[in-house]
Amino acid sequence: MPGLGTSFGRGGATTFQQDLQNADCIVIMGSNMAENHPVGFQWVMEARERGAKVIHVDPRFTRTSAMATKHVGIRAGSDIAFLGGIANYILENDLYFREYVQHYTNAPVIIDEEFVDTEDADGLFSGWDPEAGRYDIESWRYEGMEVHGAAGQRGEGFEPRGEQSGHGAAGGGLKHGEPPAEDPELEHPRCVLQILKRHFRRYTPELVADTCGCSAEDFLEVCETLVANSGRERTSAFCYAVGWTQHTTGVQNIRTAAIVQQLLGNIGRPGGGIMALRGHASIQGSTDIPTLYNILPGYLPMPHTLSYPTFENFVGANTSPTGWWGKFESYWVSLMTAYFGEHATKENDWLFGELPRIDSDNSAYFTVRQMLEGNVRGYIIAGENPAVGHANGKAHRLGLAKLDWLVVRDLVEIESAAFWYESPEIESGELKTGEIATEVFFLPAAAHTEKDGSFTNTQRLLQWHRKAVEPKQDCRSELWFYFHLGRRIKQKLADSDEERDRLIKAMRWEYPTHSAVEEPDAEAVLQEISGREIVSGKFLSGYPELRDDGSTLCGCWIYSGCFADGINQTARRKPHWEQASYVAPDWAWAWPANRRLIYNRASADPEGNPWSERKRYVWWDGDEGKWTGVDVPDFKEDKEPGYVPPDDAEAEDAIAGDHPFVMQADGRAWLYVAQGLEDGPLPTHYEPHESPFTNQLYAQRANPRRQQNKDLAEDPYNPVADEPGAEVYPYVVTTYRLTEHHTAGGMTRTVPHLAELQPEMFCEVHPGLAREVGLEHGGWATIYTSRSAIEARVLVTERMRPLRMKDGRTVHQVGLPYHWGQRGLVTGDSANDLAHMALDPNVHIQEVKAFTCGIRPGRRPRGPELPKFVAELREQAHSETT
């Protein structure tokens, strides 16, 4: 989550769901919260009952819109234009929260004079290298600041991007927490606030209306409502989900909201914040303790093939002189000690030289390309269903057919396990069972009721679930599978002298087991994650206790303390009615340090007093000499508001008493991100990779830095905007979830009640579009792109409102739930088969929330006729190009 991470310092929701009840206004955008997070939505309803305004901005009118006080329909993929318009409204009318912005954000910082904004380069920032297709970010820096890792180390150095930058590991080079050049009056033409003003100046209500397809009046009503409900006395919150992230501008969508919330002074305060609504039980956890290629637990970077040749360089490049990243080495060494025990020593650089190295992109979509090219032999899938859930499902299924071996672990036989005998490609004859060489192992998994363990929910809360029953027959937890797999591999390699086996031999892999099947003890793993002193065995209370000399071990420094005092803090379930406040700190455990609302030092003014009685949360108690309030203060407990760091201060000590964003090198929220993002220090409106329109603001149509597969036959693109052939795919398509189903359907299409409630794949279209192409309510439609064609039942509804654009064109949008596949109690075509694999450059996420399609009545062609149909349309579209 680099959108939040680069802005505030931590890649997680800034608040918690229950706190939404304190908001005076809630903007829900890029999310259909009422249907997809229904139980969390009760807190939005609580706020509305108390008089809060609830605004829903979304291409579709959903049950969230129905429960909102205002719904504004916009064109899918135009979010930055809308949010940038709000920023412009605030800035042009001087409506920002001046004291908050001056002290708590980087608005006063002066930027290097080499920096050129998109406004002056027609949609590109300075540093663009058209050959390499990427930015050199040097000119984006703060004025007077050395590029970190100077002295010839730049190539080896400090360019944290992606998820790691998502955790604030950026901004190095600052001394004593204060940027070298600032204008506290915010008037210098190169200070961030003035740059921001110029950057968004053309995002006027009229431009917003023309780009988003809404009315200027509706847009202005949103601006006025937000501003009226922000400030000392009032706060507004934003809620978003994958409607923002799944774009080629995904990270920058969130960045724009972060800018708006900083300008309005809504971060770190009750009823404020940005609530990232995540879609899987532990998707936050699987980023914190990552099953991601580019990071290690706690957002520590994986070593790279091209940089950091020595351990010293690596540590130097990742250690920020100021802020909590100043203690990088103690987090790193404690992790290596947890991984490799006594085998990792100071003398051998904690085995740094042995660790595997990554390239710039080894993400899931990269791996699919590698599969298609025959470079991947083995693949293990545990609780994911790429054949249905990933963009361009066909490319994934063809990729699986090129493996030597595949392991699939799930509760049911999902599409990704059955691709070799049951898939659209088997049906079409593009794959033949007898010709597929892949050896497939299907291993049944255990459900959450059959194992102990913790999930980290959408608000950074670790909640323990206890085993209720034993898993039956061959069903096993992933803990069991990976533990015993590792144990067997270690046994096989125990006598190996090979260099490549050193690390696996050194790995600490001793966990106590219990029960007849030798299930590893999940609490023992959580203890390792939380951290201990090695000699005494003492459980650590938190990451300030970690050391860089190998005397502590800790599997994830941001989770340190979740087993403090030898007690499983995540298993605490004190009923909310027995707790002193709605914050309920004795229910489970939140990272970091059980803080529920982070950056909460910002809920007090620079002097440490609450901004208002109404919005009291954490404040400075002068008599006691400490911060206090209803939550754990997200600040050094005894650091006075007036603290000015001495010149020789380092790490956290270098953060001033009035700078609440303690993970950032300068202790402030970042309106402008000098370092950490691939596609610009500020968000800019770009059209989606596939869209029917040109960019009204710049010659640069789409995100220049987006990742594409131009040379990959399996991932062809539709002609777009005014290109010839674009009219073959004239409509905007957006995908989404239904209340009764979950993601790729493996957990719901297999459940009788849910299958009955939502039995069939459908598409939502407006009556106008139905008339235009001859679709009948309840009948069939075929939807097609350059990748594939699918069929769906037609739901004709006013909820999919057509939008009138500036040029007089009407845009129709097609809504597609993406839950169906070939298997389960209810089956249907997969919406993701239509999608392409162009990606956001920061996090490599696909753009399934806005691309283009064609639609016609009737069922799709069957068998070999299907790929023929898709190819004919594609050739028709592209022949017009040439």
Binding site: P297, Q370, M747
Partner: protein
């Protein structure tokens, strides 16, 4: 006597008399429904759990009878969900007891046309062998450009967002020690 019995059988009167004016409680019970008890009354024990679907993190109570899940309902003590569950959460028992659930290992040999039976122990052994062999054959100490690599690019691991933190921890630890860098999950999708 007969009259009072007749009157007692009149629901409206019972609603008023028994303090149940809206007719949502005892007053509208039939002789049969009077004898019904909740599934949870007969449970052997109950454990605190968390809903496995989205990331709201609703509290669940799992009721167990005779070693099987008898019922799953919302935990009123949770400060987040206050006892509520959405349609998916409410269907959790059907999810863990789905008619499509698999309980045995299945094996498809290269070019095979059918699933075959395989013991879990054999499957584990074979998977471990595949990993060891693939690693050995595809290991790269360096990149073609001569930079340190210490990895195999021929193995990948996918999944994590539906799993426990402890499970993700073991996956990343094991894969890193094996030199498998292509480890990914749903955070990308």
């Amino acid at each position: 006597m007969a009259l009072s019995k007749l009157l007692d059988s009149w629901p409206t009167l019972r609603q008023l008399r028994e303090g149940d004016p809206l007719g949502v409680g005892r007053a509208v019970q039939s002789p049969r429904s009077k004898t019904l008890t909740a599934r949870i009354d007969e449970a052997d024990h109950v454990v605190g759990s968390v809903c496995p679907y989205c990331a709201v993190g609703c509290g669940q109570l799992v009721y167990v009878k005779d070693g099987d899940v008898a019922h799953i309902e919302g935990d009123p003590a949770s400060p987040i969900s206050r006892g509520r569950l959405c349609p998916k959460g409410q269907a959790s028992r059907s999810y863990v007891q789905s008619p499509l659930r698999e309980y045995k290992v299945k094996y498809r040999r290269p070019y095979g046309t059918e699933w075959e039976e395989l013991s879990l122990d054999d499957a584990m052994q074979m998977i471990a062998e595949r990993i060891v062999a693939t690693r050995a054959e595809t290991w790269r100490r360096q990149t073609p450009g001569g930079a340190p690599a210490n990895r195999t690019m021929a193995i990948g691991n996918l999944g994590g967002a539906t799993l426990d933190n402890e499970e993700n921890y073991l996956i990343k630890k094991l894969m890193t020690a094996l030199g498998v860098v292509q480890v990914e999950n749903q955070a990308r999708i």
